[in-house]
Symmetry: C2
Subunit: 297 residues, 2 copies
């Protein structure tokens, strides 16, 4: 697919891409890895999944026919500014960020006109992070959403799509604004809520004598439902902070709807509106059934 | 342990108790099962885990040395009224409900003075319900909380505790008010939130053309975080409706705290308060680490 693939960022996603590219040599002949953390690059060297390690971002991009941004989306503008003067003509720049409108806004204007920009978002991950957490099968059977802006070369888009297909993913094209709203519903809002309920419980547990539940009680009895939230709440804080800040409008809209709905539930609990509560609970079952039928559960 | 154990309600929990009692004959010599649903009793007969099936609640309690309420907590007062005149002297009445203050309030005053009342709450379950969903190892390694009111016979409490230990559980005694606050944090609030986010997503998906995400998109991309919520949101609606209505004060208090925290997160997202967001996200990781250390994850 590519002669030289440069990965900027070697966390869970970047290191998984490097691993799958090394396993299947039809993705990239050479994999160059850079990361702004020297400690991460030391681990990359030890783990041995890069053909070349290059600490300097700009130099890493030199001669690459594909440069893939695999860092938190808040760092994209600075990365794009650093690599732009060094990009080869006709090189493809792509990324793996969870927000797409902000990425197009931050990266697009900085790239030279003879470079192809194909924003992408593999819907894959685990609650772990860093170069040790990656694995080559992370993308298998998962969706990868591409949001090429108007005017993007169809051939470049197809190359990125084919790259992800060979990595095991199913690819779908989507308009960036729509992408950001879809992921706000299925991913960003659930993560924000999971982070919040964990921090609410943590606050409660620190109240000492008067606490509703001590920390040890929260940990001991977590299996009663709370535990399901802690798994997704253990994801990388910097990555998620940047996602929330860069999908602000869609996330706040979904959060406002969710808050209205929790308030309506609170009112129903207070006033004993059994039918309302049962109806809302019933929706969860319906969605779960849909997932089971769609074999996504 | 008991000569005749009568289970009132043969859903996930009741049918699991019947199964473990049949497997380990040192729990009960005879297991009598009743349920207000004839269809459920037909399944109980087909599944064969009851020594005797008795459609009439009052008759089922006759001659039992232990009567265990395994129905939604909203039905407890009616069940207690029905069985009270038929209870054997010195019989133990216990239950498996997720709320304990309401159970003591609803059941306690209706029982004859020569009967022992030992409220219990096994912290065990799955997202499935009904007599087919039960299995004999459901309680293994799980907590069972007992909340005997002041003046309860210690010998009766110990018998119920020993019953649960033999079923595989770890037993802890707790004051009922404290129990209700602890489970509001670790179980009731997480369930209410999971139900709510699923119904919020369901509403969004029904908005047609203008929808942020269509139903098929929610189902397709659910693996990005949303899916984790749907599992716990597929639990039994009637059971959970009753739990919410019967732990109203503690649940509303926890929900108010959680809502404050989501609003603070919303404000931080709107105003770009990166440090605040990162700090709150970090709490989730901390709790998850605590769970892993406590081997509860």
């Amino acid at each position: 697919m590519f002669q030289r693939l440069t990965l900027i960022g070697a966390g869970l996603i970047g290191s998984s891409i490097a691993r799958v590219a090394r396993e299947r040599r039809d993705l990239a002949a050479e994999v160059v890895v850079t990361d702004r953390s020297a400690a991460v690059l030391d681990r990359v060297a030890a783990l041995g999944f890069a053909d070349r390690i290059e600490p300097d971002t700009a130099r890493a991009a030199v001669g690459a026919d594909c440069v893939m941004l695999c860092a938190p989306v808040g760092t994209y503008a600075a990365i794009a500014a650093a690599v732009a003067p060094h990009l080869a003509p006709c090189a493809i720049v792509t990324d793996v960020g969870s927000t797409k409108v902000s990425v197009i806004r931050d990266v697009g204007p900085l790239l030279p006109p003879d470079v192809h920009f194909v924003p992408a978002h593999p819907l894959a991950g685990t609650e772990y992070s860093g170069p040790d957490a990656g694995f080559s099968t992370l993308f298998e059977g998962r969706w990868c959403l591409l949001t090429p802006p108007d005017g993007t070369s169809p051939a470049a888009t197809e190359r990125v799509a084919e790259f992800w297909r060979r990595a095991g993913s199913m690819v779908e094209l989507m308009e960036a604004v729509h992408h950001d709203r879809v992921v706000a519903v299925v991913s960003h809002l659930p993560h924000l809520i999971a982070f919040t309920i964990c921090s609410t419980a943590d606050d409660l547990a620190t109240e000492g004598e008067s606490a509703a539940a001590s920390r040890s009680e929260v940990l001991k009895f977590a299996a009663s439902g709370f535990r399901d939230f802690t798994r997704i709440a253990s994801s990388d804080p910097v990555m998620w902070r940047d996602v929330f800040l860069n999908n602000r409008e869609a996330l706040l809209e979904m959060l406002a709807r969710f808050t209205e709905d929790t308030q309506a539930m609170a009112r129903a609990v207070r006033w004993g509106d059994a039918a309302y509560i049962e109806d809302r609970i019933g929706r969860g079952r319906q969605i779960r059934r849909g997932l089971i039928e769609a074999k996504q559960a």
